[in-house]
């Protein structure tokens, strides 16, 4: 399945509801009431009050300058402004061998995302190793093992309650011995306001920094249904361990995942992948243009 059709099928419901709202807005001139409605449309996608206001101010300014009259022209301008916001990030390419750690709060879909990303790398003929660094949640390593089997990649795991830093240490040794291209490290879900759990994450990073010579990326997994708290998640995780990219999961529901605009704007962190289902192929690389076109 190609990128466009895949993204489209995942975002279809999203797009329909938003498109209807935008179309129904274009009834008269661009007055205050109109912009207020537009603001509500953006806010209802979880873009947030601040980012929505910024988008609208920019669109207002430019539409006046360009003397925009039709709904289609306005939509095009709105898209352009939104795409620019998403693209104003610091996006670095991966170089191999690469170790990617996946962090995030509980229940966002880290383990499932790793399974799907492993599959993607495998399809690109990379040798992949999974490291079951979530030794806390009941049966988390069983879940990742299932994914390893499904995708057909190796996995390093310990029993429940083990020290995650030790699992990571062994994982790196194994990857170095087998010359793996990609190491995907799962970590336990943790609420970012729990400093003891965040300190534990730092310990894992210390091991990685000491032992891993290749590229190291750190992805924060965010549930698309999350509201404004995602900003707090990004802020804290970024402060503790530095975040290179976002994996936005569960976009196959009715949630719009609009929080990524505020994330791009405030932190300059790009979205790397989007999860659109539970199947092994239900993952797409993020493309700002398609994402925005899918929303508006």
């Amino acid at each position: 399945m190609g990128f466009f059709s895949k993204l489209f099928s995942g975002l279809k419901k999203t797009k329909e509801s938003i498109a209807n709202k935008i179309s129904s807005i274009f009834v008269g001139e661009l007055n205050d009431e109109f912009f207020e409605d537009l603001e509500y449309v953006l806010i209802s996608s979880d873009i947030g009050a601040e980012a929505s206001v910024e988008i609208i101010e920019e669109v207002k300014k430019q539409s006046k300058k360009q003397k925009i009259k039709t709904g289609e022209d306005f939509k095009a301008l709105l898209r352009k402004v939104m795409i620019e916001m998403l693209n104003s990030t610091n996006d670095e390419e991966i170089s191999y061998p690469a170790l990617i750690t996946f962090v995030g709060v509980n229940g966002v879909g880290k383990t499932t995302a790793i399974g799907k990303i492993a599959n993607k790398f495998k399809n690109e003929h990379k040798s992949v190793l999974m490291v079951a660094g979530d030794t806390f949640r009941a049966a988390a390593s069983d879940q990742l093992t299932e994914w390893a089997k499904r995708v057909g990649v190796r996995i390093v795991k310990y029993s429940e309650g083990a020290d995650p830093a030790a699992v990571v240490f062994d994982g790196i040794s194994s990857a170095q011995a087998k010359h793996d291209d990609v190491v995907l490290v799962d970590t336990a879900g943790r609420l970012h306001n729990k400093s003891n759990l965040m300190e534990e994450l730092k310990k894992i990073y210390k091991i990685i920094n000491q032992k891993w010579q290749g590229d190291h990326k750190n992805y924060l997994v965010i549930d698309a249904t999350t509201g404004q708290n995602a900003l707090s998640q990004v802020e804290t995780f970024n402060e503790f361990v530095g975040i290179d990219g976002i994996v936005l999961t569960k976009l196959d529901g009715t949630a719009k995942g609009g929080i990524v605009f505020a994330i791009a704007k405030q932190f300059g962190i790009p979205v790397k992948y989007v999860g659109v289902g539970e199947g092994v192929d239900d993952l797409i690389e993020f493309n700002a243009e398609e994402f925005v076109n899918g929303i508006i």
Binding site: T225, N229, K250
Partner: protein
């Protein structure tokens, strides 16, 4: 959000000029409403709910209470807090226990909301309450989900029933038979996380519901959910007619506006919340605390207390009017008791009536227990009796005493006290007594 500052900070800025003048203009109300709107949106309250709330709050603020008030900023916050608490339901709602065991609890929700963990927490809580719960594994889709429930079950020492990946509906029915045989009195059914728009999986839930007829159908929702919470809750409620909601991950720093949206859109109570990683980390849900959290106002109580002091002043004026008109009833008396709890002494209220400063009531009126008994007595009167105390005769007194768990003597004492108070007030207002009111 630190970026926006707390609502109280913003409002106090909006009202900073105002406190000096003491009058709200339409523009100032509009500005305040904008701040409230943003604060609620940043807390993830659904925008439609926000729209509705703000118009209600705005209406109340435009009323004379605020305009007359001395500190309108505080009163606005009070009104906002009241509206939020009212919307969320004023008391916490308990788990329904079936009259004939077993009580069947069906858990449902999106993926990653925390159903399986919550199943364990509920089981542990019920066990502590002396129940004998059984956990049932009906999530046959997520890899290792059954295993997760087994580990959770083991950690709380509760048996887990499973039939591998056979049909959840069948497993649930068999589990029920098993529970009856083994005299389990609560059956908690864990189900697969599912998107509310996945018809096939929603049908599966409906089939389970039909087959086992649950006492409770609890929707588990992540407290960090944004605008979509409304769609999710609405769909689950429409399809399954849920009986309540469990809010998880409240130990995070989310403001949790989703709680408000869910309540507004489904009308179903939030029964519990998950507040940590341990199996003991489950709490009953308190709507008023949630209101303060959504508004992100740590100092809200102080402010509201201050605001309430102002209202009392208004109420004192109302009381003064009633005294003048001699229309003081048991209903007013009841209100006095409520206020006494806050203020400590009725003389404080009377102190606000010009010229009545030195007036003192009976000391036993500020005894907490006595207040509670007196309140119970008044509450056992019919509304008609409260407004027309003269109709309370022997048989009514007997009924009131029985209803309030007091004695006829106590009822008599209260009625006597009431008439004495009323007589004193009458004297005060007519100027016949020692106290002359300057109006």
């Amino acid at each position: 959000m630190a970026l926006f500052g707390t609502l109280s900070e913003k409002l106090s800025h909006v009202f900073s000029k105002l406190t000096k003048r003491g009058v709200l203009t339409e523009l100032e109300i509009k500005n305040a409403m904008r701040e409230i709107r943003i604060a609620l949106l940043e807390a993830d309250v659904n925008f439609l709910v926000v729209k509705d709330l703000v118009s209600k709050i705005s209406e109340k603020c435009s009323g004379e209470r605020v305009l007359k008030s001395l500190t309108p900023g505080q009163q606005v916050i009070k009104i906002v807090n009241e509206e939020l608490t009212a919307l969320m339901g004023s008391t916490n709602s308990k788990l329904t226990i079936a009259s004939k065991p077993p009580t069947i609890i069906l858990m449902c929700g999106l993926q990653g909301a925390g159903k399986t963990t919550m199943c364990g927490k509920l089981a542990k809580m019920l066990k502590k309450q002396g129940k004998k719960p059984l956990l049932v594994a009906c999530d046959i889709y997520r890899p290792a989900a059954i295993n997760q429930l087994k580990v959770v079950g083991k950690s709380v020492d509760v048996e887990v029933y499973d039939e591998g990946t056979s049909k959840p509906e069948k497993t649930a029915v068999n589990a029920l038979k098993y529970a009856e045989k083994k005299t389990y009195d609560v059956v908690i059914i864990d189900t697969a996380g599912r998107l509310h728009i996945n018809e096939e999986l929603m049908d599966e839930l409906k089939n389970i519901k039909k087959a086992v007829k649950p006492t409770e159908i609890l929707l588990t929702v992540d407290a960090m959910t944004g605008q979509d919470a409304v769609t999710v809750a609405e769909t689950f409620n429409k399809e399954l007619d849920i009986t309540g909601v469990i809010l998880t991950k409240l130990d995070g720093d989310t403001r949790g506006g989703a709680a408000l949206s869910i309540k507004a859109v489904t009308g179903k109570p939030i029964k519990f919340c998950g507040v940590g990683e341990k199996m003991d980390d489950i709490e009953p849900f308190y709507p008023d605390r949630m209101a303060s959290r959504i508004l992100d106002m740590g100092d809200v109580l102080t402010l509201i207390e201050k605001a309430q002091a102002n209202v009392t002043e208004e109420e004192a004026k109302k009381l003064e009017k009633k005294i003048r008109e001699n229309s003081f009833t048991f209903e007013d008396y009841l209100e006095q008791f409520d206020q006494m709890k806050k203020l400590g002494n009725i003389s404080d209220i009377l102190n606000m009536i010009p010229g009545a400063g030195k007036f003192k009531f009976n000391a036993n009126m500020i005894d907490e227990k006595q207040i509670a008994r007196n309140k119970a007595i008044i509450q056992s009167m019919t509304p008609y009796e409260r407004r027309n105390p003269d109709v309370i005769k022997g048989s009514q007194k007997k009924r009131i005493a029985a209803g309030s768990g007091t004695s006829i003597q106590e009822v008599n004492a209260l009625i006597k006290q009431f008439y004495q108070s009323k007589e004193l007030m009458k004297q005060m207002s007519s100027g016949k007594g020692r106290f002359r009111m300057p109006f």
